[in-house]
Symmetry: C2
Subunit: 353 residues, 2 copies
DNA sequence: TATTGATCTGAAAACGGTTTCACGCTCCAT
DNA sequence: ATGGAGCGTGAAACCGTTTTCAGATCAATA
C-alpha cells in the first residue's frame, strides 16, 4: 500500500490546515516563518511527496510532456528524445513516451492516449505533417505541440528541423563535385517519412542545376531483412549504366545499403560512393566513415521542448525553427571511378566485376 | 481550453447519471441495452475520453510504467526501452521515461519523481543494484519494480539480464582459442555499471582457467572525448609486451577503442583483436563486424515489462530471469599475430609468445 | 396478495491536492 | 478612538473519475 502519507497527514503533524501546507510547498502565498518551519519538518519526517495526480486533477495540467516518435531503434530518434528528456528535466517535467513503429495508423490512437493523460504539451515526429488529421485535432483542442524532424509547409505550425532540401542539395552537389554523374536516390517508404520526400526534392534540384538526370527514387523497406535488400540493389547496380553513387534518405538506410553492396561484391567507396542523412554517431565511428548530412539531432530535441515551453507559458505563436547542418563528406563518398566500373562488353556476354 | 467534455457532459447528453456512464465504459456492472446505447452514442458524438487523471486519483493506480535508464544514446538501452514500450502498449500502458546520464546520484531523485506520478510499477537499470538505497526504498513501499541489465546477487530481486560472467568467460575463451595470450580488459567506470564488474570476473575466470595472467582492468571514461582515449591506449598498446587483444566491457566502448587504435596506426584485427559486449545492431553492420556477445536487448525490455505485470497482477514473487546469449566472433576478433607486432630492440630481449 | 429476489439506476462519498473566500489580527494613518 | 489596509490562516469548494449504498422497478414465487 504505497502513498499512505498525504497532505492531511502533514497538516496534522504540523498542527495546521492542509491549505497552509500547500502554500508552504508551492510558495503560493506568504506563511509565517514559524509555521513554515513546522511544516517543513513534518514533510521531512514523513518523507512526504505531493501526489502529482492530486495536483493535476485540480489544475488540469501535469508536469508531463507527451512524445510520439516512429521508433527508438533509430539512433536519430533516440538522440532527439535524449535531448527532450534533458530539456524537460531542467523544467522538472517528465516524458511520456510512445512509438508508432512506423505505422501511420497508430499515430491517432497514441496521441489520444497521451492527451487522455493531460500532458502539458506534445513533441511529435509524424509520418507526414501535411493534411494530418491528428495534428488538426490537437490544434482544434488547442493542445500545444511541436514537431521534430518534420518540416511543415506552413509556418503556422511549430517545428524544429533542418532545411532538408537545401541539405540534400548541398550533399548532392558534393557528389557531383567528386565527379559523379549517375547518382541514385534510395529512400525508405515515402509514406512513412515526409522528410524523405523533401530530401528527394533537394537531390533533384541539385541534379537539374548541374544539367544531370535525376532518377526516380528507389523505395526500399529499410526495416526489411537484408536479402530482399540485396536483391533490389542487384538490379540497380548490376546494369550496364549503373550509378556510381547512392544517396540514401537516411543514415540507417545507408548502413544497410553499404552492407548489401558489400554482399554483392561491390566496394564502397571504390566502386560506388554512398551517403546518408542525419549524422548518427556511429557513422563517424565506422571505417570508412559514413558521408552524410550532420544534423544536430540531440539539440533538435532540446529546442523542441524549449519551444514547447515557450508556447505553453507565454502563449507564443507556433513557428518553424530550422537548425544549421553541416556536410560530412569523405569516407564512403569518394571520387567517381575514372572509367565505368564494369567494362561494357559486346552483348550478350556479361560483365565480370 | 482542452478537456471540456467530462463524464458529466456525457451523462447529461445520455440522460442518465455519471455512475451509469462509468459503468458502461468499464463494464463494471450490468446496464440495460437501451441506456448503454444512449451512452455510447453520447460518447461518440462528444468524442469523450475518460481522463486518466480522474481515474487515477480514485484508484491510486495509473496505466503508466516508470522507466529509469542511464542514457538513451546507448543503443542497448534504446533497444530495451523499445521492447518495454511494445510490451507496455499491448497492455494499454504508457512509459514515463527518465535518464540519469550515468550519474548514480540522480537515480534517487528521478525515481522519486516517478513514484510521485503513481506509476503502476518501475523498470530500472541502475548503476549498481547492490546496497542500493533507492531500491530498498521501493521495496519498503512495496512498489513493484524490475531491473534490466543489472544482475543482482540475490534472487529476491526481480531482474531480466544475461549471465554476464559466463558470457564474458565464453568470449574470452574464444579469444584464447584464437591464440591470444595477452588480453587486456577495458571497461567504463565500474561505479556506473555493475555489469562491467561482473563481466570482468568472467574474463578473469577464463584467463585463470587457461593458466594466463588476467590484467587489471583499464577503466576508461567512455563518454570522454576521443583524444584522452587515444592517449590512454597509447600507453597500453605502445609497450613491448602489448596485448594482442582487447576485451571491452560493452560495444559502445569497443567502437570507441577501435577508433582510437586506428588513430594510433594500429590495425584491427590484424594487429589487435577487439571485442565488445551487448550485440548492438550497428556492430553487425560495420566492416569488419564487431565481435561481441549478442544479447537479446529488445527482448529483455519486453520480458521485464511482462514480469512486472505478472508481479503487479498476480503478486508473483520477484525472480531473476537470465536470457540466453550467443557469441558473435570473427570480424574484429581474428587470430593472434604470429610474431610480436613491433620488432623488439636488442636489450633486454624479451621472449616472443 | 404479499414476499422475495434479481436487475438496473442514481445520489453521494471518496481520492489528494489547489484555490477562493472570509475572517481575525496587527499596524498605521487619520 | 476609528477606519482601512495587509497579512496569515482555515473552511470549504472543486477537479473527474470510481464505487458503495440504497432505492426503484418488475417478475416470479409462496
Amino acid at each position: 500500500m504505497p502513498r499512505i502519507v498525504t497532505i492531511r497527514t502533514v497538516a496534522e503533524r504540523a498542527g495546521c490546515s492542509i491549505a497552509t501546507v500547500s502554500r508552504v510547498i508551492n510558495r503560493s502565498a506568504p506563511t509565517s516563518a514559524e509555521v513554515e518551519a513546522r511544516v517543513r519538518a513534518a514533510i521531512d519526517e514523513l518523507g512526504f511527496r505531493p501526489s502529482e495526480i492530486g495536483r493535476a486533477l485540480k489544475t488540469l495540467k501535469t508536469r508531463t510532456l507527451g512524445v510520439l516518435i516512429p521508433s527508438l531503434t533509430n539512433p536519430v530518434f533516440a538522440a532527439s528524445v535524449a535531448g527532450m528528456q534533458a530539456a524537460a528535466r531542467e523544467r522538472r517535467h517528465t516524458l511520456l513516451l510512445t512509438a508508432t513503429d512506423y505505422d501511420p495508423a497508430a499515430e491517432a490512437e497514441l496521441v489520444e492516449t497521451l492527451v487522455a493523460q493531460n500532458v502539458a504539451g506534445l513533441v511529435l515526429t509524424v509520418a507526414c505533417a501535411e493534411n494530418n488529421a491528428t495534428l488538426d485535432l490537437l490544434e482544434a483542442e488547442s493542445i500545444p505541440f511541436v514537431l521534430v524532424h518534420n518540416e511543415p509547409d506552413t509556418d503556422a505550425r511549430a517545428a524544429v528541423c533542418v532545411d532538408n532540401a537545401a541539405a540534400t542539395c548541398a550533399l548532392t552537389e558534393a557528389m557531383i563535385a567528386a565527379g559523379h554523374r549517375n547518382i541514385a536516390y534510395l529512400a525508405g517508404r515515402f509514406a512513412t517519412s515526409d522528410r524523405s520526400l523533401r530530401r528527394y526534392e533537394g537531390y533533384r534540384a541539385a541534379m537539374e542545376k548541374a544539367g544531370l538526370d535525376a532518377t526516380a527514387p528507389l523505395e526500399l523497406d529499410y526495416l526489411g531483412d537484408a536479402p530482399s535488400h540485396a536483391a533490389a540493389l542487384a538490379g540497380l547496380f548490376g546494369g550496364l549504366s549503373a550509378p556510381t553513387a547512392a544517396l540514401c534518405s537516411n543514415d540507417l538506410l545507408a548502413l544497410s545499403v553499404i552492407g548489401a553492396l558489400r554482399d554483392l561484391g561491390i566496394r564502397v567507396p571504390d566502386d560506388v560512393s554512398v551517403a546518408g542523412f542525419d549524422g548518427i554517431a556511429l557513422g563517424r565511428a565506422m571505417s570508412p566513415s559514413l558521408a552524410t548530412v550532420d544534423t544536430p539531432t540531440r539539440l533538435m530535441g532540446e529546442r523542441a521542448v524549449e519551444l514547447l515551453f515557450e508556447m505553453i507559458e507565454t502563449g507564443a505563436a507556433p513557428r518553424v525553427e530550422r537548425l544549421p547542418f553541416s556536410l560530412r563528406s569523405g569516407g564512403t563518398l569518394a571520387a567517381a571511378p575514372k572509367r565505368t566500373r564494369r567494362p561494357e562488353p559486346t552483348p550478350p556476354s556479361l560483365p565480370t566485376p
